[in-house]
């Protein structure tokens, strides 16, 4: 493998993406809304009951939801009062599946630009005439999406650590975030997530006409994570360290499968539509 060529393609893809407002806007806006604005809204909700339409009865029903959660969650929330439980439940447990959307979205948007977008702009052909092998091209294209998604996720996480603790400080009175579950999420699950977006996008891009086309088709990869978030909010499931470990394992295996399939379909000729 030619590391210099791979790093050149990664550099090129990231530079090109950074100049594309259509790609950069969602990458900046999503973390801003989820990890900066949302924590403040959540912490203010119980105290602005009139504005949000939350009553004491709602908070009691919410306690019922907590009671249905796994013993790990209940144990973690046992020491807090009703308002604190509300804030911690949202900022720690509900936000975890939402956070998972970020690396998938970033990787799939970048992969759509890197594979289908490059084909659409007709810049792929020049790349195919270079001495790089198919495998080097494939690895470079995956790396650019993976690295960017991980970087955005880690920056988003760092931002969220600050924002969640700052927003919750008035109710909790101490640093409560991240907990063990989040550390497993960041160290084990999040690095696997870009592989889903990338793997699906590689398969989609060989058939897609352009960036928008690939992005729309590939967008479905976010759906399982959205279902996970709905499950968590509704109480149908409860994220825990064990569940996240298993989830991470499944995602890593899926990554392997998708990337194996993608590498089989990634051939120079096909990238030209030949």
């Amino acid at each position: 493998m030619n590391a210099r060529a791979i790093s050149a393609i990664v550099r090129k893809d990231l530079k090109v993406v950074s100049q594309n407002k259509g790609v950069m806007l969602p990458i900046i806006l999503l973390p801003l809304i989820l990890f900066v604005i949302l924590p403040w809204i959540v912490t203010l909700m119980p105290f602005l009951g009139d504005i949000f339409g939350i009553t004491a009865d709602d908070l009691n029903k919410f306690q019922g939801l907590i009671n249905r959660m796994g013993p790990g969650v209940q144990q973690e929330l046992a020491e807090f009062d009703q308002y604190q439980v509300f804030v911690i439940y949202f900022l720690v447990f509900v936000m975890a599946p939402l956070f998972m959307i970020l690396p998938i979205m970033v990787s799939s948007v970048i992969a759509a630009d890197s594979f289908a977008g490059e084909k659409e702009r007709k810049t792929m052909e020049a790349l195919l005439y270079t001495p790089t092998t198919d495998r080097e091209l494939f690895v470079a294209k995956l790396l650019s999406g993976w690295l960017a998604a991980l970087a955005v996720a880690l920056v988003g996480f760092a931002l969220y650590v600050i924002m969640a603790n700052a927003a919750g400080w008035s109710q909790i009175g101490r640093i409560f975030f991240p907990n063990t579950m989040w550390l497993v999420l960041i160290a084990w699950v999040v690095p696997a997530l870009p592989g889903l977006g990338l793997g699906v996008m590689v398969l989609v891009s060989s058939r897609a006409q352009g960036f928008q086309d690939a992005n729309q088709i590939g967008g479905v990869v976010v759906l399982p994570v959205v279902f996970l978030a709905i499950g968590q909010v509704s109480g149908a499931m409860s994220l825990s360290v064990t569940l996240l470990f298993l989830l991470g394992l499944i995602i890593w295996l899926l990554d392997g499968l998708l990337i194996w399939l993608g590498s089989r379909s990634f051939q120079r000729g096909r990238m030209l539509g030949a």
């Binding site: 393609i9 270079t130 790089t132 092998t133 000729g269």
Partner: protein
Amino acid sequence: MNTVIAINQLTRCFKETAAVDQLSLEVHAGEIFGFLGHNGAGKTTTVRLLNGVIEPTSGSMRVLDLDPKMDGPNLRARTGVLTETPSMDERLTAWDNLDIYADLYGVPRADVSKRINELLDEFDLADRAKERVAGYSKGMKQRLALARALLHKPELLFLDEATSGLDPIAAHHVNDLIERMARRENRTVFLCTHNLVEAQKLCDRVAVLEHGRLVALGTPAELTRQYVRRLDVQIEINEEQIEGTLQILRSLPRLVISEPVRTNGALTVTLSGHEAIPDLLEILVHKSVRVYRIAAQEANLEQVYFALHGEEESVQ
């Protein structure tokens, strides 16, 4: 003579259609080889095959003594390709484009800046090297694409419609560069074009492709002799013999295929081809006509092209 490209019975099909059909030819070191054909004739597909970007359906090829199918990366390190569209990353600057491709082509890191500066100067882009390519004119983009193809000093250069869409001045500039690369720097140039005037001016030999099949191969002069069936010739003779000569010419319908015209003391006739010249001269001398000068108006590739396509009208 070193053979740089050797193609034997090369075929590439897309579904049922043969884009390249049993193509056989050789290209020699240091020559500018013209690859002519209409849009969709198979020129770009051939370039892709010769660089190992796509694989042939059947047949064999050697390029720079390598098999493109097996040694694609090694081969592409020694070839440069200017694609039909410049294929530049327009969101990047000219410098960034060249810097990235210098890494991809393995230009020694210590030489990269010097090489980029040389090429930017050579192609008259140095002043705008730090601007994004999106703001460049088509001619500038084409020159930058040519600079990119030359970054690693390739032995063999493929130029696919190098002057397509350029204004006459920009096209002239690019043609000068092509000629200089071949004549002074001894690079082999494989020039795909449907610009016949350009091919006539630049190419040592040309191949004409039609629906993926090779229909003619040779030097422009050989092809005109072989395929052009009409040749305008001006004959300067003793003025007193003009009337008699007109009678002789009219009696030779096999050689003279149109009514001879008298102009400024000379006769202009259309002959049935190059081979008619010595025959006609022999007859005139035999009939004691004093011929002072006989000048054929050279046929060109355009006429060859239309002769091959069975059309009489000119492009322009």
